[in-house]
Symmetry: C2
Subunit: 205 residues, 2 copies
C-alpha cells in the first residue's frame, strides 16, 4: 500500500569521472521499480533513427527560447550552438503518473534543478577516494594525462558541493551504489511530509 | 564502504494494536544488518532465569531515581510500583560501536526520546485503515468488546501524532513493513548530514 502515489524526481549527480552513468544503468537493471528516464528537449536536428519523444523532444530554437523565458525547463544549457534542456511539464506529467523520474546530470545542472524542485531528491555520487577517481580516469584510457589533470581539478571543486545534496552515496562498487539509491527511493516515499496527506485521508474513510 | 560509522537509534512506535512487535520481530529476522535491542533498566526484582544486562539492567530504586535526576534515561515510566527506563549511556555505547539500536515503544515514550535524541530516526507504524485496526484487535481475541472500544479511542488520539515522526510506514503486510524500515535505515546512513564529516576526511587522505 502506497501512501505517497506521486513519483519522485531523483537527481543523480557527482564529480565527473565518478561513474554516474554506470550507477544509473545498474539502477535501471534492477527489478520491481517504476523508474523512467527524463527525455531531454533539444534544438539540434534529429539523427537518422532518432524518435521524437523517445530520444529527445526536437523543437525549434524559437520554441526553446520561448520555453526558457517562461521557466519551462528544470535546467538547460547551450552546447556548440545547440540547446539542451529538461522540460518541466514532461517531468511533472510522469511524476503525476507515479513514475520515479531519474535525471543523471552534471553538478551545475543539478543546482539549477534544486532551485525549481524543492521536493526532488538529490544524490551525490562520490568515489571512495581521490586516488580511486584518478585511477578510474586513467584506466578509462580515453584521456591524455593533461586531460586527466584537468578533470581532477574540476572534480576537486565539485567535491565541495556535496553539502548541497540530500544524500552522499559512495560508488565503491556499482551494485552497492545502486542498492543504496533504491533504498533512498523507498525511504523517501515513506517520509512523513510525503505521506501525511494521504494518511489523513485514509483515516477519514 | 560506510561513510557513517555510527549506529542509528531507530524508534519504532505507533498506535496500540498496530502490530509494532510483529514488525520489529520480522525486522530482526532479516539478514545482513547490525540491529540490536536496547535493554531496559528496571527496579523490579529479577525473575528466575533472567540475566542482568541481557533481559534487563536490574538496579535499586535509589539508583534509578538518581539517574532520572541526572537525565540518564531516554525515556522512563512507572508501572505498578516499579520503574522501567531506557538507559541513555548504554544506548550511546552501542551506537558508538556502530550498532543500530531499535526501540519499540509506545507513542508517549517516543515523544520523550524525541526531546533528547535529535538525530534518532522516528518511524510511525500505522494500520492500512481504521477498520483494519479494529479487525486486528478483534481477531487477536484477547480483549473484551469494551476493551477494544477503549483501545480504538486511544488509537484515534494517537493517530494524530503521526506528524511528529520522520516516516510513516503502513503495516499492510508485516514483511513489506520490515523491508521499508530496512530501506529507511540504509537511506538514513547515506544522508548528507551524517556522512559529510567522514566524506571530507576521506578526501583529505
Amino acid at each position: 500500500m502506497k501512501l505517497n502515489e506521486r513519483g519522485l524526481l531523483i537527481v543523480i549527480s557527482g564529480p565527473s569521472g565518478v561513474g554516474k552513468g554506470t550507477v544509473r544503468r545498474a539502477l535501471f537493471e534492477m527489478t520491481g521499480h517504476d523508474l523512467v528516464y527524463s527525455v531531454s528537449m533539444t534544438t539540434r536536428a534529429p539523427r537518422p533513427g532518432e524518435i521524437d519523444g523517445v530520444d529527445y523532444y526536437f523543437v525549434s530554437k524559437e520554441t526553446f527560447l520561448e520555453r526558457i523565458k517562461n521557466n519551462q525547463f528544470l535546467e538547460w544549457a547551450e552546447f556548440v550552438g545547440n540547446y539542451y534542456g529538461t522540460p518541466l511539464d514532461k517531468v511533472e506529467e510522469q511524476l503525476d503518473q507515479g513514475k520515479e523520474v531519474v535525471l543523471e546530470i552534471e553538478v551545475e545542472g543539478a543546482l539549477q534543478v534544486r532551485r525549481q524542485m524543492k521536493d526532488a531528491v538529490f544524490i551525490f555520487i562520490v568515489p571512495p577516494g581521490k586516488k580511486a577517481l584518478y585511477e578510474r580516469l586513467r584506466e578509462r584510457g580515453t584521456d591524455t594525462p593533461e586531460m586527466i589533470e584537468k578533470r581532477m581539478r574540476k572534480a576537486e571543486s565539485e567535491f565541495l558541493l556535496a553539502h548541497k545534496y540530500d544524500y552522499i552515496v559512495v560508488n565503491d562498487e556499482v551494485h552497492n551504489a545502486a542498492d543504496r539509491i533504491m533504498a533512498i527511493i523507498r525511504a523517501e516515499h515513506a517520509k512523513t511530509e510525503r505521506t501525511i496527506h494521504n494518511y489523513i485521508k485514509m483515516l477519514g474513510e
